[in-house]
């Protein structure tokens, strides 16, 4: 959808296109109707998918990147380093994600970049904890001790030896972070705190709020789009989990049994 947006709907998706608030299928030109300013909803949905996925991917990379570094360092060194880093992580975790996000956006303004970074910055604690847990169990394995006796540097051991072994569960978790990132952006836009100058699904829902009781389709269509995307991302995550988990791979019969229920 994101790939074909440009060819199917050339031009600015935010440009006024026709009479406002046309119902879907009412006008052949706007098969998903128009919103309260007369902009094509279909075009906004298609272009919005680019924005939503972009925010999801970039914010996830930021969150997982910070999470891996902090988790790896805390897990590998343990002791005081671990205590300090984990208390910081907990400080972030105790604050509700969304409140912190609102605060960041309020302080740094709401253009696309700050929103994306802000979402990334509020989502890193969970990946950090996961990475730390993996490192805690891996750092005492004999192959790590073997690397230390060979005289490898700590950074080499952390990133080149342990990390590849710790990665599968983190990759799987990243799909959850991505789904949450898309939802966070939509929630932000619903409150009209996201970047108003891009076509994002959240913005469209936010606009539809004013006409929710009469022209409900304006909010419902992007809502459905978010639902399917988040579902799809989660399913990809589950698929990754199955593919990366050797124990599940060895028992295809059992999985088929569960799937059939």
């Amino acid at each position: 959808m994101a790939a074909v947006a440009g060819t199917l709907f050339p031009g600015d998706p935010l440009a006024l296109a026709g009479r406002p608030l046309q119902w879907p299928a009412e006008n052949a030109r706007f098969w998903l109707g128009t919103d309260n300013s007369g902009r094509d909803i279909a075009a906004q949905i298609f272009h919005g998918s680019r924005i939503s996925l972009l925010i999801g991917l970039v914010a996830t990379s930021i969150a997982v990147g910070i999470g891996i570094v902090i988790g790896a360092v805390a897990g590998y060194y343990g002791g005081a380093v671990d205590t300090i880093l984990m208390r910081i992580t907990e400080a972030f975790q105790t604050l509700p994600n969304f409140l912190l996000l609102l605060l960041l956006v309020a302080v740094f303004g709401s253009n696309l970049m700050t929103v994306t970074i802000a979402i990334g910055v509020v989502s890193w604690p969970a990946p950090a904890r996961l990475t730390r847990a993996e490192f805690l169990s891996l750092r005492n394995r004999e192959f790590v001790e073997a690397c230390r006796t060979l005289g490898l540097r700590d950074t080499q051991i952390i990133f080149r030896e342990i990390l590849p072994n710790a990665l599968p569960p983190i990759i799987v978790y990243a799909s959850v972070v991505m789904a949450v990132a898309i939802l966070l952006e939509s929630a932000l836009a619903f409150l009209r705190l996201s970047d108003p100058n891009v076509a994002s699904w959240g913005n469209l829902i936010g606009l539809g709020r004013d006409v929710l009781r009469t022209q409900w389709f304006v909010s419902a269509i992007p809502g459905l789009a978010i639902l399917t995307t988040v579902l799809a991302v989660s399913l990809v995550g589950q698929g990754l989990n199955d593919a990366l988990n050797p124990r599940l791979r060895r028992r295809p019969t059992e999985r088929a049994g569960i799937g059939g229920q």
């Binding site: 394995r141 004999e142 192959f143 001790e145 073997a146 690397c147 230390r148 006796t149 060979l150 005289g151 490898l152 540097r153 080499q156 030896e161 590849p164 072994n165 028992r251 019969t253 059992e254």
Partner: protein, 539 residues
């Protein structure tokens, strides 16, 4: 004698894609009333699968393909689940290898033993309690009333195994299946448990199907022996017949691979001391609240040892004796609290982390678990070359050296591109050895390098270590719990107990005329003492 359990041409199939189509192939075996039948074989021979087939506890995808398992007139191969439940535990009981995982950690010992009674009998609460107490007394657990209320983690390994045996014997089963019941235990505990099983079996007349990989244990306990290889029984007969006059070449090979408890002829050893461990201590403290020390463990307690150039120093002891901690202190994986470790004229303990990194290549380590000590995501060549690359050698040169080293330790040059999981346990240990040798160390510290290996593979690796020692003039510190292995390779030996060295000297003297009572106890506990002598005569 009548047979109580008999397997008649039993075949058990493995799921498609396994390394062989059958886990068991046409296995026929009789267990008579009141005798102990030992099933011996190396890992993967199907001996545990046999026990599971009899109990009908086969893993998913594995099924009894053909044949009959007759137990007291009933065919277990075709019995329904409900019938099996009635038989299991009551008339056919099993003891597992690792008592810690076989017991439920959240319930008391007494509760778990009593469960057998609650399921199979209609006894009242107090009756069950007195029965459990009797059972615990029978298996000689110290302080039975207290043990009954203890949780599994509060007992030692040997006590847990005793509790397991008590549970298995609760309803006087006709057949007891023991799957490597002493493998996870220390040698002195093992001797006690074997004596207990023997004693209970004599008094109660239970038939025992005893599964083990250790010929020493077989010699201690077996009336009859069945030897398994690749899912088939290759030889069976009375214990004396199989052990003293084995007819099948595989049996002969296995028996010959059991190391003899006899020190090798004394070699002339250089007077030069390459590594001098002087009063090294490492203490672990468990801190309670407000900085109070609640528990202090002296993992290594004031140990002083010397390693002569070109010699092998054995460090033996049971689990928890601090021998692995000492090894890790020597290579500075653990920082010792006090003492000095002099390599030549350099004190390793005083070096900073980065200085130590520069000296790492002089002292290298081989680890116990051949699969855990190799990064599963790296190829064999990379693993061997890693240390060289970290030391500044170019990748191409390092890989060329790696190839040579793999050949030196008896692997194919082409092994360089394969991942650890594509090798067998013995081959993996060879890779570990090649990795340690890559940096041309002066001292090699080997922490239980052969204890995870089958006995025939173990013999090969020990031969390789001996060859390398003469070829490269290596000085080795060899840590093991197996005194028979120590006797094969060591020139000097130190016996450790609770962190301290209790006896230290040339191996011939320590094993020949042990002066410390603990060394004597260790030597006496080794199963199958006469084993090697008689096997050698028959060869």
């Amino acid at each position: 004698m009548t047979s109580i359990l008999s397997l008649d041409n039993v075949s058990v199939s493995l799921p498609p894609g396994a390394d062989r189509p059958f886990a068991l192939e046409n296995v026929s075996l009789d267990v008579n009333r009141g005798e102990i039948v030992c099933v011996v074989g190396e890992s993967g021979s199907g001996k545990s699968m046999m026990a599971n087939a009899v109990m009908r506890l086969l893993p998913q995808g594995v099924a009894i393909e053909s044949g009959r398992i007759i137990f007291a007139g009933e065919n277990l191969a075709t019995a329904t689940e409900a019938e099996m439940r009635r038989i299991r535990g009551a008339r056919l009981a099993m003891i597992f290898q690792e008592p810690m995982t076989a017991l439920n950690p959240l319930r008391t010992i007494g509760n778990q033993i009593g469960e057998t009674f609650r399921i199979h009998t209609a006894l009242g609460k107090s009756e069950i309690e007195s029965k459990v107490l009797d059972l615990l007394r029978e298996v000689h657990i110290p302080d039975p009333p207290h043990a009954m209320l203890a949780y599994p983690h509060e007992l030692s390994g040997g006590q847990r195994q005793r509790a397991m045996i008590a549970m298995a014997l609760a309803l006087d089963p006709a057949v007891l299946i023991a799957d490597e019941p002493t493998t996870a235990l220390d040698v002195t505990t093992q001797a006690q448990i074997l004596a207990l099983i023997r004693d209970l079996q004599r008094r109660k007349g239970t038939a025992v199907l005893f599964i083990t990989h250790d010929f020493g244990v077989v010699r201690e306990i077996a009336d009859r022996v069945a030897v398994m290889q690749n899912g088939s029984i290759v030889e069976q007969g009375s214990a004396s017949q199989v052990l003293n006059a084995p007819s099948h070449p595989y049996t002969r090979q296995l028996i010959a691979a059991v190391p003899a408890l006899k020190a090798p002829p004394e070699r002339t050893i250089s007077k030069e001391i390459i590594l001098k461990i002087d009063q090294v201590s490492k203490t672990y403290r468990k801190n309670g609240w407000f900085g109070r020390t609640t528990r202090t463990t002296h993992a290594v307690d004031n140990v002083s040892l010397e390693l002569h150039r070109g010699s092998t120093l054995g460090i033996v002891g049971e689990s928890g004796s601090g021998k692995s901690t000492l090894a890790r202190c020597i290579v500075r994986l653990i920082e010792p609290d006090t003492g000095s470790i002099r390599l030549g004229d350099l004190d390793l303990v005083t070096l900073s982390r980065s200085q130590m990194r520069d000296e790492r290549h002089r002292i290298q380590m081989v680890f116990q678990d051949p699969s855990g000590s190799l990064n599963p995501r790296r190829r064999a060549g990379e693993l061997v070359a890693q240390g060289l690359v970290a030391g500044g050698t170019g990748l191409r040169d390092a890989m060329a050296t790696a190839e040579e080293l793999l050949e030196l330790v008896g692997l194919d040059r082409r092994a360089i591109d394969r991942f650890p999981h594509e090798f067998s346990g013995g081959q993996r240990q060879r890779i570990g050895l090649a990795r340690a040798l890559a940096l041309r160390p002066q001292v090699l510290v080997a922490d239980e390098p052969v204890s995870a290996l089958d006995v025939s593979v173990q013999a090969q690796v020990l031969v390789l270590l001996g060859e390398l020692r003469t070829k490269l003039g290596l000085s080795t510190i060899f840590i093991t719990h197996d005194l028979r292995v120590a006797a094969q390779v060591c020139d000097f030996v130190a016996v450790m107990k609770s962190g301290a060295v209790v006896e230290y000297g040339p191996i011939g003297k320590v094993f020949g005329e042990p002066s410390h009572s603990y060394t004597q106890a260790l030597l006496q506990s080794i199963p199958g003492q006469q084993m090697s002598a008689s096997a050698r005569i028959s060869d």
